[in-house]
């Protein structure tokens, strides 16, 4: 059932190449991409009525949007810094769209500026600093250095259930790297082979270095507007067709119930189902997709949860190249998290910007022919909080 609510559209994008910006403040990166997004949308900063951003963990104590409003000399009617794991970038778009659809504002700016490579808060985890994100009793002694161990347990279980091999995971990493060469923002563009992935440094078996997304710095901004404004301003607005959001009550990996899967995720499945329902389209109508897989193993898991494949079928699909740019369902055409790099909270904005380029027909060498419908998936908290958004052009 297509929604009768007023539609919203993306009319401008800006992003810096993912990498290391040790001598740049978050606010400087933010202003750079905001300027680019405003230019792309052909609007003035004075037209920004809503300001939505991702967390800054480095100490603006929640006053980031206040600060940016001063730097921009704007007075938004609606603004918020959204903190909800790495799904935050996607949620800025959702809440901006909500505000526009509620009629409170007409144009919103969503942005995220992340400098993770420049800080070392993960290191503190091994120095006696507790991490309230995880359960001290169950995990704290061993599970230092982020949550790679949770993805590793998930990957191993998927291998056990489907017969997938480490080579199959490596194929996804290699696909991403090949695609990244055509991306204007990817951090890693040098071609690599399955053999190189397999023989890269072991981190948390079966995950190795080249299966992994590097935590890096980045900034991205998107201008989103009510349909009537978008039509006036933009020659090629990209419409939000529908979205779905679902949280499956586990913070990291499900431990409280032996019936819960760790190789497939209810949150992704429910979010995708709701997104397709609200947009009134079917999974096989998607022309190009961006999925949030911090490790190559989950490049196989997520497409099954979204509904393009049944459980275990991605093993054959990745071997057959079905997710390549010219394949049945092109996935992560700009390198995905593993090759674009992963400025965590901003990553969903990077994903969306690549879809906008694809749907506008501006993606150059990575262009999917005649792409009309794009899917963006992102998550927070090890796949247990999922957001799926569908975008399309007229």
């Amino acid at each position: 059932m297509a929604s009768r609510k007023k539609r919203v559209a993306i009319i401008g994008c800006g992003a810096v190449r993912v990498g290391r910006y040790p001598d740049r403040q978050e606010s400087e990166l933010a202003l750079r991409v905001i300027r680019d997004a405003l230019g792309d949308a052909r609007i003035s900063k004075k037209q920004i009525e809503g300001l939505f951003t991702t967390p800054d963990l480095q100490g603006n104590i929640g006053l980031q949007t206040n600060l940016l409003s001063e730097y921009l000399r704007i007075s938004p009617k609606s603004m918020v810094e959204i903190c909800c794991g790495a799904i935050a970038g996607g949620l800025t778009l959702k809440y901006a769209a909500d505000e526009i659809q509620a009629g409170r504002i007409k144009i919103a700016l969503c942005y995220g500026a992340v400098r993770e490579a420049s800080i070392d808060w993960f290191k503190n985890l091994t120095r006696g600093h507790g991490w309230s994100m995880i359960e001290p009793t169950a995990l704290q002694p061993y599970a230092a250095y982020g949550i790679i161990w949770a993805y590793a347990l998930s990957a191993r279980r998927y291998m056990h259930e489907t017969g997938a091999t480490e080579e199959d995971f490596a194929l996804a990493a290699v696909r991403n790297r090949k695609n990244a060469a055509g991306s204007p923002v990817a951090a890693f563009t040098k071609r690599m082979t399955v053999d190189e992935v397999i023989h890269s440094r072991p981190l948390a078996s079966p995950i190795k270095l080249l299966d992994s997304a590097a935590s890096l710095d980045g900034a991205a901004a998107i201008v989103i507007a009510a349909e009537e404004v978008a039509r006036d301003l933009s020659p090629r607005p990209v419409y939000l067709l529908g979205w779905g959001l679902h949280h499956d009550n586990s913070c990291v990996i499900p431990t409280d119930d032996c019936r819960k899967s760790i190789s497939h995720f209810t949150a992704t499945r429910e979010a995708a189902k709701k997104a397709f329902q609200s947009a009134g389209i079917k999974p096989n109508e998607v022309d190009v997709a961006e999925i949030y897989a911090p490790f190559s193993s989950h490049e196989l898991i997520i497409p099954e949860d979204i509904g393009w494949y049944r459980d275990g079928e991605m093993v054959k699909a990745i071997r057959d190249g079905e997710t390549e740019i010219n394949g049945k369902i092109p996935i992560n055409t700009d390198g995905g998290l593993t090759s674009r790099g992963h400025p965590w909270a901003a990553t969903p904005l990077y994903e969306t910007i690549n879809l906008v380029r694809q749907l506008r027909g501006e993606a150059g060498s990575i262009q999917v022919k005649n792409a009309k419908i794009g899917l963006m998936h992102c998550e927070g908290g090890m796949m247990n909080n999922g957001l799926v958004m569908l975008f399309g052009r007229d």
């Binding site: 507790g130 590793a152 056990h160 995950i207 032996c258």
Partner: protein
Amino acid sequence: MTSRPNYLKPTNLESPSARKFWEGLRAGKFLAPRCENCGELFFPPRSHCPECLGDGFAWEELSGRGTLYSWTELSFVPPEFDAPLLLGLVELADGVGRVLARITGVTADGLYIGMPLIIRISNHSDEMALYHAEPLRPE
């Protein structure tokens, strides 16, 4: 003993709501709270029952028996441990779901999903006891 760093201290790890659990470990017992209001037995221990939000508990000793649901070999580990470290997700037979635990007494080559394991307790230092899983061998 070399002077390797030790950040695994009660002050860093033992949240007030789980103090009885850690005290239990020091006494050689693997405990879980049972809610005095609704009867739910759950793990890990928390301040409130996740089912009914009750906050009064009786503490029960678990068998710690289970089977390996998934595992990973960590190549980089906290400073208190030697790499590589095996981390397992163990399905407990006690009805409290799964528990994450370091696995000892076996190498990665010897591990398989479905392997019978049991939770054991050992002293990490004078003030701290930790639990781990090891293969359950026929007695």
